[in-house]
Each structure stands twice: as C-alpha cells, then as structure tokens.
C-alpha cells in the first residue's frame, strides 16, 4: 500500500516529465552541433587569432612592460621601475624631438589639410578632365615612399637640383633646402604633403558627391552667393569628415619617419629629429630597447588621446 501510494504520485509526477522524454536526444544533438560549429569556427579563426596574438596583442602588453625593464640580448630583462622614463625626460633630445614633431604636424596640417580640401572642391566643380586629374593627384600615393624621398632629395640638391634652378629662372636666390635649420622641416613637409595628399583629396571628393544638390538649389533660391553656399552648405555638410581626417592626419603625421631618416638624418643641428627617428635610434642604434619602449609608451599615450577622440566621434555618428 505504502509502496502504491508513494508509487502512484510518483508516476503521475513523472508523466509530464515523460512527455518531452524524446526531447533530450535532439537537444543533445543540437548541443553537439553547436559545439561542432564552434569548433569549426575557432578552427577557421585560429590563424587570425594566432597572428593577432603574436604580432599585435602580445606586443601591446609587452611594449608596456618593456618600458619598465632594462633589456639587452645578452642577459634576461631586469625591472628598473621608472628608470627609463627618468632617462628619457633627462635626454635633451626628447624635448627637441617632440617640439620638432609638433612643428612638422602643424605645418603638415596647414598644407596637407587645406590643399586637399581646396583641390577636391575645385575638382568637384570641373566638368572636364576629372578622371585625369583624379588619377594624377593619386599617382604619388602609388610610389614607394623611398622613391619619393630619393626623388625629392634630387630636386632639393644644391647643385643640379631642379628647385634652385627654378628659383634662378625666377631671379630668386638659391635655398639650402635640407641644410638650413629654418627651412629643412618645411622641405620635409612639402615631400610628405606631395606624397600623401592624393588619398585625402579622393576621400573629400567622395564626400562632396554625397552633398545633396537640393541644398545648393535651395540656398541659391534664397539668394546665397557661391561663397555663401560654400560657407553655409558645403562646409557644414563636410564638417564630420573634415574632423575625422583632421584626427587621422594628426595621428599619421606624428609618426613621420622616412622623410627625416633619408633626407636629413635628423640634422641640421637636430632640427629634424622627430619622435619616431629618436625611437629608432634608441632601439636600433643604441640597442636600448627599454628606453625606446618608454618612448613608445609616451607616443602611445599622446596618440591614444587622439584615437579615443576619433573613436568617440565615429561611434556617436553611426
């Protein structure tokens, strides 16, 4: 009896559970497939994850750690605390390099920011030769940078150089393009602008084509002149992309390397020593990887601020 009374409710309780009794089998199959899918997914991802882990994620962490270590290939790394930063800030070249880099960035923005914008606006208005002009402005981007700087070194050459020849034709005095402390940085900026403005121009051109024509028409009906339309329609419509390219250019130009490395070597009198050039010297000339990493960390913090700003802006937009 006891067994029955106990058994009966148990059976009734089991019945609802027994109804989906065939369910566990498909559920397990689904689970098995999910696992298989995940396995396949990670199998396909393995190469990518490994590449990023080795050459991106791990170096990020390691670079940070290295700035607090003394490293050479002979002995294991030792912790030195803030020693590297102390030495970095004590190096008079550190300040010089930052000052030069900021100067380069400022000059590069004056040219590299304004020139593509004006070019893009003019190109967008032209009805002829647009394909040709678009192509020519992008040609320098396709040259290997080493070719660009060697070519310009030849232009700047005080002897047979083309630039001093052109100045002579105009009855102007020849210039010490790369040898003068005042002029050398500007000469580097000119090369860099020439080489890179094609990209920015084409980005602006694409953005300009996205400005709705009705806006111009409406402004014109209201009696806005061409200059007013430029000011009140074009520029507000382009504001976002202008801001974005501004940030990207700051981030890009602050990492200038090949121009000073090949054209001036940092001279004359350290006038063109940039942050990355100094970093290169610390690491690969003096083999002081700890000091170079401290420099990287500083660069990272400065550029990270701009990158964060970029991220915020693009996220709030999209």
């Amino acid at each position: 009896m006891k067994v029955d009374t106990v058994g009966a409710p148990r059976r009734t309780r089991q019945r609802p559970a027994a109804a989906p009794a065939p369910a566990p089998a498909p559920h397990r199959a689904a689970l098995r497939r999910r696992i298989a899918d995940n396995l396949a997914g990670y199998l396909f991802l393995a190469g990518g994850i490994l590449a990023f882990a080795l050459f991106s994620w791990y170096p990020i962490v390691r670079g940070f750690l290295l700035s607090f270590q003394q490293v050479n290939f002979a002995q294991p790394a030792t912790w030195v605390g803030l020693d590297n930063f102390q030495r970095l800030f004590d190096d008079p070249l550190f300040l010089t390099a930052w000052r030069n880099t900021l100067w380069f960035t400022a000059l590069a923005l004056v040219f590299g920011f304004a020139a593509p914008f004006v070019t893009a606006i003019v190109l967008n208005e032209l009805r002829h030769g647009r394909a040709y002009l678009r192509m020519t402005v992008y040609l320098p981007v396709m040259l290997p940078p080493i070719v660009t700087v060697l070519l310009w070194r030849w232009f700047y050459d005080p002897g047979p150089g083309l630039f001093n020849h052109a100045l002579a034709v105009l009855h102007l005095p020849p210039q010490q393009w790369l040898e003068s402390e005042n002029l050398s940085m500007l000469s580097l900026v000119l090369v860099s602008t020439w080489a890179n403005m094609g990209t920015t121009t084409l980005i602006y051109l694409a953005a300009l084509q996205g400005v709705p024509g009705e806006l111009y028409e409406a402004a014109q009906l209201d009696g806005a002149s061409i200059r007013q339309r430029l000011w009140h329609v074009t520029i507000p419509q382009m504001r976002f992309i202008l801001l974005i390219t501004l940030l990207l250019q700051v981030i890009g130009t602050m990492q200038v390397f090949i121009e000073p490395f090949v054209l001036t070597g940092g001279g004359p009198n350290d006038a063109t020593v940039t942050v990355l050039l100094l970093l290169y010297r610390y690491a690969f000339v003096y083999n002081d990887f700890g000091l170079a990493s401290a420099m990287s960390t500083v660069l990272f913090v400065v550029l990270g601020a701009f990158a964060g700003l970029y991220l915020r802006l693009t996220r709030s937009k999209g």
Partner: protein
C-alpha cells in the same frame, strides 16, 4: 556616385557657368588646374624616367635640360644587372606574393568564421582585432621586432627570413573587417542550401562565398601587394642581410654609391609595378579607399 558625364548639382549652378564671365572663369580655372596638376604630379615622374636616360656628366650639370641631350638607355640595363637590382626586385616579388597568400588564407578564413560560423565570443575577438586599428603602428615597433627575433614559446628567430614579413602581415584588421562586412551580405539561405547538399565549411567557402566575393578579394589583394611593395622601415629592421632585402631597402643603401643615372633608373623600375597596378585596378583602388576610410 556621379560620373563625370552626369553633372549632379554642385556648388556652382550650370546656369552660372553658362554666363560669359562664368565660362571664361571656368576655362581659366580648368587650364590652371590641368597645368598645375601635370607639373606637380606627372612631371616629377617624367623627370625621374628621363633623368635616368641622361649621362652622368649631364646629370651633374647645374643647368638641367628638359629633354636629355644624349640618350643612355643602358643605365636601365646596367642598374638591372650590375647593381643586382634584379635580385632585389625578385625579393620584393617573393615578399609580396607570400604576404598576399598568407593574408588571403588567414584573413578570409577568420572573416568567414566571424561572419558565417559565429562562434561563441566571436564578437569579442572581432572587437579586439578592430581595436588594433586604433593603435599607432610605430608604438608597437619595438615589441613586435623583439617578438620576431624570438617567437614566444617556440623560440624561433624570424630575422632574415621572409616569414618576418609574411606572418605579421596577417594580423590585418582592415582586411578582416572589409571581408567580414562583405560576407555578411551573402544570404544565409545560400549557405544553408549548400549545407543541406552536404557541403562542408571549406567547400562552402571555396564554392559559394569566394566566387561571390571576388571584388572584395581584389581590393584586399591589391592593398596587400601595394603595402608590402611600399614598406620600408619594417623590412629594413627585419631583413638586415642584403641578399634578402626588397628593392625599397636596397635603393636606400645603394643610393650613396650608385651612379645617379642608374639610381634614377632603379627608382623608376621600383615604381613601375605599382603604377601598372594602379592604372589597371584604378576602380578597385578608389573603391577600397572609400570603403576603408570611413563607414559614413
């Protein structure tokens, strides 16, 4: 996107251009722009190619001539053979081809997994990859170099091997992002249909996804080859042995003791492949430029 022939309404109205003053102004601006652009962007290339044809004596003259007084096309062949430019050229080709192959295999597979297989935490992995786009490359120069010198766990030194170029090139978040975004547009039904037909992931990738993704594969490939061909600092650091160096690094080393006309010939030859790629794939490059720059 408006083409050159279908004038979309822009800043200046067509009517404004049709006035006599407008037309004259337009012609002046057009002429100025054409001349300035040709002088600024095409002439330097002409100067390089024609400079290589000049004799060394003519090149050293302080009063350069627009057209070479005497033609010396042999500087091209000399640069190619005697300074060993052919070897550096082949090195570059090898580095570019390998980087292309590794990038395609690794990044296509990763993008396929993230787009179609969507494993657990896939989004986290993608976010971590994309985050690296925000990092200044140069801040990672030293630790990445040290990693290549001594790969963690297996302790292999990649210096002076092409793998020092090939493997780091795979960690390319731009490629994975562009590929994944394209794969996302491929309808799920196509994949399911192939799966019901019994196709495995590799088959689906090779026979369904990749044929559809040809345009985006072209963009990724072009940028991979161009990227390796243009690179200077990384191969300078990781390939110190001249025998394995690409042409960009070799040109910098040779620049100081090569005759000027041969150097110019070498520079021209180092540029030709990229210029050809550009002329052939213009459309793809422009598309990649706007796809990669911004999403808005």
């Amino acid at each position: 996107m408006a083409t050159a022939d279908s004038p979309a309404r822009t800043l200046i109205a067509p009517a404004e251009l049709d006035r006599p003053l407008g037309r004259a102004l337009y012609r002046t601006v057009l002429g100025t722009v054409l001349v300035t652009f040709t002088a600024a962007f095409v002439f330097p290339l002409y100067w390089m190619v024609s400079g290589a044809l000049k004799s060394s004596a003519e090149l050293a003259q302080p009063d350069p001539a627009l057209i070479p007084q005497s033609f010396h096309p042999e500087s091209y062949t000399q640069a190619w053979s005697s300074t060993g430019l052919s070897r550096y050229f082949l090195n570059t080709l090898l580095l570019a081809a390998g980087a292309l192959l590794f990038q395609l295999v690794v990044d296509v597979c990763a993008a396929y997994a993230l787009s179609k297989l969507r494993p657990v935490l896939g989004n986290v992995v993608l976010a971590m990859m994309l985050a690296t786009l925000m990092l200044p490359v140069s801040a990672l120069l030293v630790p990445t170099y040290l990693t290549v010198v001594d790969i963690p766990l297996i302790h292999v030194n990649l210096i002076n091997t092409p793998f020092a170029i090939w493997l780091p090139a795979c960690a390319n978040a731009f490629n994975i992002f562009v590929l994944k975004r394209f794969f996302d547009q491929i309808p799920e039904e196509l994949i399911d249909a192939a799966r019901i037909d019994g196709a495995g992931n590799l088959r689906i990738l090779a026979h369904v996804v990749l044929p559809l993704a040809r345009p985006v594969l072209a963009v990724v490939s072009i940028f991979a080859v161009v990227g390796v061909w243009k690179d200077f600092l990384w191969p300078l650091l990781t390939l110190p042995d001249p025998r394995g160096q690409p042409i960009t690094v070799a040109l910098n080393t040779l620049a100081n003791d090569m005759p000027a006309n041969q150097l110019l010939a070498g520079m021209a030859m180092a540029s030709i492949p990229l210029l050809v790629i550009f002329l052939v794939f213009q459309r793809h490059i422009m598309a990649g430029l706007t796809a990669g720059s911004l999403k808005g």
